[in-house]
Symmetry: C2
Subunit: 146 residues, 2 copies
DNA sequence: AGCGAAAATGAGACACTGTATCATTATAAG
DNA sequence: CTTATAATGATACAGTGTCTCATTTTCGCT
């Protein structure tokens, strides 16, 4: 069983067909999906799962910091990223919308310092850099020509 | 004139009534707004500005890394944060959805290292921590009781 | 195993956010 | 002032995400 499903159970939620299917779809996609992709692939795997459950589950996974919504491009449909261990880091190319993931380090120290200074309890973080990837770095920003 | 408007002009975009009104609304709100709030406040200031222009401008400001969409709560309407200097850092309380901003440091070094290692050009970043604020740290996550 | 309380589901109607089109207007350069 | 061109506003539209509620499923307990 996926460790994410175990976290669901540990948090007191029931393990259902819908939830395991949805989580499987996200994991099979490599951790980067849009809600539209999840809807489509879940329907392909099991047409009896309703839309409402998909959105409810995305909400639930977000609250548990198992996934987190992010915006590849402008104000369109959000994407979701898996946050293994509660954190994730990537670069979004603002020209071609490609996502480049990278491993990170130093933020655990920053998190601990913030917890102490601000008296908060932190469970995860998402770090996004915006820029232009190696293939697009010489091109103008999209919209500059518009 | 707001430095953000100057950046628009420097990037080759025209300075229009709609754009300056929308940017003014975001700045007056302290840098944290939802699209619904922008629509409402812009309509109050100048009813002749159409919805389409508001969304178009939010897209444009996002591409220029002047603002950046983020999700305070679950998968509902996105919020937008002003990114002064192209970067922003905050903590989102997952119980009460309060946003706690904090100043940051070390990431410029990480950005420079990534630019060299991955041959990318970075223009901004957003760092979000998820957790529970000082007022909510003893409470369960929302939905745990559901 | 089987029972039962309670959570979770699926169906479908609904509200709303965001998009596309296109004629009209405003910007800014010369 | 003139003119090319970007940007606008209105409207209709598409799609995402929400809500309700009867029905089903999970899972602790015996």
């Amino acid at each position: 069983m996926s460790p994410h499903l175990e976290r669901l159970k540990a948090a007191g939620y029931k393990l259902t067909k819908a939830r395991s299917t949805i989580l499987h779809v996200i994991e099979a996609a490599g951790g980067h999906v849009t809600s539209a992709e999840v809807l489509e692939k879940v329907a392909a795997l099991n047409p009896s799962i309703g839309r409402a459950s998909v959105f409810r589950t995305l909400d639930l996974l977000t609250r548990l910091v198992i996934i987190r919504p992010t915006y590849p491009g402008g104000s369109t449909t959000p994407g979701y990223v898996l946050m293994p261990g509660g954190h994730h880091h990537h670069i979004i190319c603002m020209v071609c919308n490609r996502i480049i993931e990278f491993d990170d380090c130093g933020l655990e120290g920053m998190a601990a310092a913030l917890e102490e200074r601000l008296h908060v309890r932190l469970e995860g973080h998402l770090l996004e850099f915006y820029g232009r990837c190696d293939r697009c770095r010489e091109l103008p920003l999209p919209g500059s020509e518009a």
